[in-house]
């Protein structure tokens, strides 16, 4: 008979595979057997290690919270494993949408006027102007094609890896996470239009660089990253 619950050694510790074709009842029964077996073996060997790293992978099955709790309870009671993560090959529709929003670049074509706030759950690309008194706030990075005269706040939740790419012309205010920079240069040189990238450097200071340095500053900028697995 093919086993539905298998334990496999991995680099960090162990991986518990739950067969997605089996019923949940079958899984829990087999898990009980496996845990009992392990406990007996543990007693014999005199092994005393605690908090052994365990990842649980449920294949194409999505475990709900109750099921996860049940499994966690069983494992914690009967073994010395400590569960680091629940993974599966699938995810809920809501979760996928949420993730998609978080990692995709939202595009807006509009003028942000005084008193208006344009907000984005992830990265945002604005094609249009931000007037004085208007602000654009994103949890991720901000890219602006057009003039920025108001406030641009990237990484509003504290993400210091967020960047702002814009034409930092005059009179704008730049914020990344909790760093603030006011653009006040009035000399002729700074009045020239030049697109730059604002970012938080290694010393946690908001600084500016030319666009060709963007890839060096933030190597993963053009990749869809993060957010899906905890």
């Amino acid at each position: 008979m093919k086993q539905n619950v298998t334990l496999k050694g991995i680099k960090e510790g162990f991986l518990l595979n739950l067969n997605d074709a089996a019923s949940f009842e079958e899984l829990t029964n087999e898990l009980d057997e496996l845990l009992d077996h392990l406990r007996a073996e543990r007693k014999l060997s005199g092994e005393t290690r605690k908090d052994i790293h365990l990842e649980i992978h449920s294949g194409d099955r999505l475990l709900n919270t109750e099921q996860k709790e049940l499994l966690s309870k069983k494992i914690e009671e009967k073994s010395h494993f400590s569960i680091k993560s629940f993974d599966s090959n699938v995810l809920t529709y809501e979760c996928a949408i949420e993730w998609q929003k978080k990692v995709s670049l939202e595009m807006k074509v509009q003028t942000v006027r005084s008193g208006q706030i344009l907000e984005a759950p992830g990265d945002i690309l604005l094609i249009g102007k931000v007037h004085p008194g208007g602000s654009i706030r994103a949890k991720g990075s901000i890219f602006i094609i057009g003039e920025l005269h108001g406030v641009a706040h990237a990484g509003v939740d504290g993400d210091t890896s967020a960047v702002i790419v814009a034409d930092f012309l005059t009179k704008a205010q730049i914020r990344i996470a909790d760093n603030v920079e006011v653009i006040e240069n009035e000399d002729e040189e700074s009045k020239k239009s030049k697109v730059e990238v604002a970012y938080i450097n290694d010393l946690h200071i908001l600084s500016f660089e030319t666009l060709d340095r963007l890839k060096k500053i933030q190597p993963s900028i053009d990749k869809v990253t993060g957010g899906l697995f905890e």
């Binding site: 008193g115 706030i117 004085p132 602000s135 704008a172 205010q173 006011v182 006040e184």
Partner: protein
């Protein structure tokens, strides 16, 4: 002892914000510690006239809703060695975001640090106006020689009489010498008598006021300008000096001035 002064008018566009910025600057230039409060929540302008717009991080609504401490929201105007501060209004909220008690609390907290607290009142007589006058000890009414502005000023004075604010003072703004001399508009005496309150000062209409505001510099910084002198005189009167009213007489242009344009 610090004094909180509300600058109000009823009608919009008569120069409340410009007057607040200039009087605050003039008092700061006299070495007084001044805090300006912009109460025009939703349509703030005082920051723009002072050229501090892009330095706003927190505003008065952030303070009221406890997202920021009062001192964090104050913006220092670097030009006047620590003498001039601005508490900006919020732009994305409305006038009902604050109530009278919260305004009183803010002003009370500022009193210990500042000699003068100037409150820039929004146009109208709704919540914004009520908040602005709630914490004030004195009131300056700004009007222009236009009948509509005078009518609104009269209404405001009536409303102020029902409060504890003592003796509002009048500032007549945007005076065009020639029109007043020719009797096309009410003159200074008529306006003052009609409103029956004390005159604090008069400000002549001058293109440079707008030009200067556009650059974020209050006109008071230019000592030669006529409007600037008007504001400086008012500041001195606030400090207790006796300063004579400026003359309405227009200088006759000489033959050479007519040819070569206005003398600088």
């Amino acid at each position: 002892m610090s004094t909180a002064i509300v600058i109000t008018s009823g009608k919009g566009g008569v120069g409340k914000t410009t007057s607040t910025a200039n009087l605050g600057t003039a008092l700061a230039l006299q070495g007084k510690k001044v805090c300006l409060i912009d109460m025009d929540i939703g349509l703030r302008n005082l920051d723009v006239i002072l050229g501090l717009e892009n330095r706003i991080i927190y505003d008065i609504v952030d303070v009221v809703e406890e997202r920021a401490k009062l001192h964090q929201a104050l913006i220092k105007d670097k030009r006047f060695n620590d003498n001039l501060y601005l508490l900006p209004a919020a732009q994305n909220a409305d006038k009902n975001s604050i109530n009278e008690q919260q305004m009183i609390d803010i002003v009370e907290e500022l009193r210990s640090d500042y000699d003068y607290i100037l409150i820039d009142c929004p146009a109208g007589i709704e919540q914004g106006f009520k908040n602005s006058i709630a914490a004030a000890d004195r009131a300056f009414i700004v009007t222009t020689p236009e009948i509509s502005a005078i009518r609104d000023a009269d209404r405001i004075i009536g409303l102020l009489e029902q409060t504890e604010i003592s003796e509002p003072k009048l500032i007549i703004n945007r005076i065009r010498k020639r029109m007043m001399q020719d009797g096309e508009v009410m003159d200074v005496d008529e306006i003052t008598r009609h409103l029956s309150i004390d005159l604090l000062g008069i400000i002549f209409d001058d293109d440079d006021v707008v030009r200067s505001s556009n650059n974020g510099d209050p006109i008071v910084l230019n000592p030669k300008n006529a409007a600037s002198q008007g504001y400086r005189n008012i500041a001195r009167r606030i400090l207790g000096e006796t300063v004579p009213l400026m003359s309405l007489k227009t200088e006759k242009q000489s033959f050479w001035q007519k040819i070569f344009g206005k003398k600088k």
